[in-house]
Symmetry: C2
Subunit: 214 residues, 2 copies
């Protein structure tokens, strides 16, 4: 994937893109699995664009518990705001899930548009607007899921949203069953037990990552 295929540069032609890459003082860096790409609060003067691979946004609290706040893939952006300012004692980081390439751009270069107020820069802002909206949307979905009090309700909420996205009552989890537990912030074994109950109660039919809503 090239930078001009990312959502941030959508609608900007190749030659303009190259000019902007320089104008924006962008840099591309490669990472391997489990490498820490970004620490919120520290290096937050840059925004990052995922060119390829998958990364996850994780919160590590003072007890060492890991929570996935968000998962990003090709074309997604992080650090575009101080959205994930960590609470005292916690740490919020971006970690490489699978080998990836990241483009870093100084935040100032984006918001302080160039003296020429060029069309491209305006387009860039438009794109950024939509991307942050999407991030807000994902977060809001997460809040919807987490606002349920029981594991069963959290799961049903997640399944429903996923079914809507996949336009089918038979869904395939976008990540491992263990990660689902992290995502809905529940104990894995308790979640497994509840999935078993839901099968028994005829709510769903599930086999590992494959779930049918009944």
């Amino acid at each position: 994937m090239k930078i001009n295929e990312s959502a941030l540069f959508g609608g900007i032609c190749d030659s303009d893109c190259e000019k902007m890459y320089k104008c924006l003082r962008a840099k591309t860096v490669g990472y391997c699995e489990n490498e820490t790409i970004y620490t919120y609060g520290e290096s937050s003067l840059n925004i990052g664009i995922v060119l390829s691979g998958t990364v996850s946004l994780e919160k590590i609290d003072f007890d060492g518990n890991r929570t996935i706040l968000d998962r990003l893939s090709s074309g997604d952006v992080f650090g575009e705001t101080e959205v994930f300012a960590p609470a005292t004692g916690d740490e919020i980081i971006v970690v490489c899930e699978s080998k990836c390439a990241i483009v870093f751009i100084p935040r100032a270069a984006i918001t302080q548009r160039c003296s020429k107020v060029c069309e491209c820069h305006t387009r860039l802002l438009d794109n950024l607007l939509e991307m942050i909206s999407n991030k807000a949307k994902r977060l809001s979905e997460r809040v919807q899921i987490l606002s349920n009090r029981t594991i069963r309700d959290k799961l049903m909420c997640f399944y429903m949203l996923e079914a809507a996205k996949q336009k089918s009552r038979k869904i395939l989890l976008p990540f491992s069953v263990s990660m689902l537990a992290d995502y809905i912030c529940a104990d894995r074994s308790a979640m497994m037990r509840e999935i078993g109950n839901m099968n028994r109660d005829g709510l769903i039919e599930s086999d590992r990552r494959r779930i049918s809503l009944l």
Copy 2:
């Protein structure tokens, strides 16, 4: 409060503001307590700006359970994206908490900038960008809080964040204790019990809305 005092129109002079109010086809409407102002999915062709008063974003699920997704006051914006697209069977609405005035602007009027590509319109987009970022930040805080598994941890997380905002270890809840239970998605009585335990364990000293972190 006048429209040009809202964050959306920040940095735009009065006369320009008036012009834009017309150019953007804006309309101001007043609401009384508990009135429903906006239903996501239905009237989402407009964005709304809270001029005065307080409104809350609520999810009503099919069982009738109410969850507060967000609270907005003077200068805040809602409907700027389809951020709160309701899950199937649920309803997401904006409800008036205390007597308020709302400015509605057709969404298209904002994103499709006027033919003149005027400075004001660009500024408007900049402002919108920052506001959505703030919304994402609030949502992310909420996720941080909800990602804790016990009521105690949720409360501590909330207290910490609030202490940081109020720059003091003695904090005053921004809403009623009952609403706090809704906010952290816990049963009120269970939360009260846990607050009692935390006092007993010497973690906090609390009296109604007044809390000291020890």
